[in-house]
Amino acid sequence: MALLKIHEPGETPLPHEDERQIAVGIDLGTTNSVVAISRAEKPEVLRDKSGGNAIVPSVVYYGDDAPVVGEEAREHINTDANRVVSSVKRLMGRGLEDVKSVAGTLPYDVEIPEGSSDTAGEPMMVRLNVGNRVLTPVEVSADILRALRARAEEGLDKPVEKAVITVPAYFDDAARTATKDAAKLAGIEVLRLVNEPTAAALAYGLDNGAEGLYAVYDLGGGTFDISLLKMQKGVFQVKATGGDAALGGDDFDHAIAEHLLAERKDGGAADTLDASDAKRLLKTARKVKEGLTDQDAVDVSVNLNGSETSHTVTRAAFEAMIAKLVARTTVITEQVLDDADILPEDVKGVVLVGGSTRVPAVRKAVADLFEQEPLSDIDPDEVVALGAALQAEALTGGSDNLLLDVTPLSLGLETMGGIVEKVIDRNTPIPVAKAQEFTTYQDGQSAMMIHVVQGEREMVDQCRSLARFVLTGIPSMAAGAARIRVQFNVDADGLLTVSAREETTGTEQEVAVKPTYGINEIDMANMLRESMVHAREDMQLRVLTEARVEARRNILAVQAAMEADRALLTSNDEETIKNAIAALEAAMAGDDRDVINEAAEALENASRPFAETRMDSRIRQALAGQNVDEVN
């Protein structure tokens, strides 16, 4: 289907080298992030300068100078802990209410911004108190993305402005939007948000050329995802997905930390921990966890409040601490299998993703559930970024493979009595467009509140509120007479747009479901202005690129038409059109968008008589009773 562009001899090739920019794959993880690039369907991770580590810890240190990201930031935990931010992904798109449940486990202060709700009366995303700054999770994520972008540009020695970024399949609309906003702040155009498990499957699928049903079990630092995918004829179809956005390896660390504290307490040391102590203790706990992957027991000493204690943590003890957490993942997995009406033995292979799948107890639980050894020949820390890189290449350079994804959560509207009316069920393939009709319940009702929610529960207050808006201007009618059509659109990134329309009069209002828990447009604009000196230039470059893409399409279309209907082309028209094409090509070689658009319009005008002749000819054929298929 792709159009091959063939230059006639002597014609100048169109300048588009500068437009075909490199696109990378980014796994923006809770604990660790990785950036990768794919060329000729061979993906590879981009390592640090010394060629060593692919992993960039998702940790940012906000000292007096520019933010520091990664391993270096982590070093500051011992000396300047309250300026170090980690696991910020858990807060993406979250309000204070959401965070309360994990509040004790967060190693920094969170606060709700002044006023605590946006103009629509919705709660806003939490802010972090870091040193003397107040930061949104979006800004912190943007700093991590900037570091990844810098690493990629350094490694590839080229500017990198496009990326596929992965998100947990279970991320809701607010968290997805927040991720896209963070990329925008970091000057990255998101080609596509891809679900992490899907990316992992892509990395495996291409390697193994596998056909059949696969499960991807993804236990990262802060999130758990389970997805079922069918692979056939180069198409990766997500059949069902489920998970828990607040369950991961961080919880294992907390279990160990609590265990160590309890042992100290039994030994008489009652600790009161400040943020800095908590972070150091968690760092120790993580070391213990990692040690227990290969060893049966790990000795550790804890020094808090001036008293040092020694502990031995056995693997058996650790497994007892996390048994409930691991069981939660298997229960969710069984539900997803049930949802898709699939038995564990139908699954041909199980892919492990995420550093937490290194924990032997986790591997054993997965093997027991599916009655087979899971696949893990690709490094579970890198597999998602590798898949994202493959997808980035597919999107920019073309590919025979295709990812078909689904909505992870049901989308619906509040109706009378706070009951949710589902409009799009979970696990519906995207993109999807669905409409539902509602009516008024009072005589003469002139407005209707449209409240959009996401989740599986039946009551509105148990689901996540995504947006509210009021459809006004409904003409006076008897109750039940108005016909209000609410349209839901979910795009290929999994992002929702909702519009409402009164059908009898055409009163229409559209809202892109965006700000709730996110950052409103004004804040976003301010942040862009502050943080990105080049924002304006970037924007102009993007507009210029779009003008060139559109112009090139225009030229190809006219050339194809001349080729197809040469008989209808007068030599006069042909000359006019060719001149207009040459003028447009010359304009495209320049950097002025307006000049390109004017030349494109001139080409349209020049080719209009020819287009009209073609239409007339077709209509005459139809009137003459000729079958069009035969004519072709």
Binding site: V331, L404, N489, A492, E546, L556, D565, A611, V628
Partner: protein
């Protein structure tokens, strides 16, 4: 393609030349088109019948998504991206509708100008069915072990299969009143299977 009708044409938005109203792509310049008034069956090249080969339909679905999905248009112009999103969404809707027997029946009834039961403002008034559903729900409520629920699931699925067959005969034989009733019954049976399954996983989790 029918020989007696001449497909209507419109002007392609890209090359401005003629293109069939239901074409996915312009046959001159290859530009993706807006979804036309294509009914779900035609989209899959099928005759309008309740009996469908889902595997064959899926093969067509995958082939068409390969051409229409927005991922294929990531480096194209904004307009082409938007059109591809619309086309892919229409294709998804067509496949989701035809794949599911209840949705397929609802769709076919609407094509025949009949509003199926159970939609907004339509109550079900088949006392026999309501009684049957109530009994099934009570039995499910009382069921305490996996074996009993498994037997119930097996039984409802068997009934659903039989019901689906009758429904196909009714719709394809234009017996729309009977079809309407059978559709409602099939919907109940599928819902009961779902509820039984949900109860089973609740028991397993406890």
């Amino acid at each position: 393609m029918s020989n007696t009708e001449h497909p209507a044409h419109k002007a392609c938005w890209s090359c401005k030349g003629p293109v069939e109203v239901s074409a996915l792509f312009c046959d001159t310049c290859n530009a993706i088109q807006a979804p036309g008034q294509l009914d779900h069956f035609k989209r899959f090249g099928l005759a309008q019948s309740f009996v469908v080969d889902i595997d064959a339909m899926e093969a067509t679905y995958l082939k068409q998504q390969q051409l229409l999905h927005p991922d294929r248009f990531a480096s194209k112009s904004g307009r082409e991206q938007a059109l591809s999103s619309q086309q892919a969404a229409s294709l998804n809707e067509a496949f989701e509708t035809l794949k599911n027997p209840v949705a397929r029946a609802h769709y076919m009834l609407r094509l025949a100008g009949i509003e199926p039961e159970g939609g907004e403002g339509h109550t079900v008034n088949d006392p026999e069915l309501l009684m049957e559903a109530m009994e099934m729900r009570e039995a499910l409520h009382d069921a305490e072990d996996k074996g009993t629920i498994d037997a119930m699931i097996k039984d409802t699925r068997k009934q659903a299969r039989a019901c689906e067959k009758d429904l196909g005969d009714a719709i394809d034989g234009n017996a729309f009143d009977a079809a309407k009733k059978l559709t409602t019954r099939l919907r109940y049976l599928m819902k009961m299977t779902e509820e039984a399954r949900a109860k089973k996983s609740r028991l397993a989790a406890a």
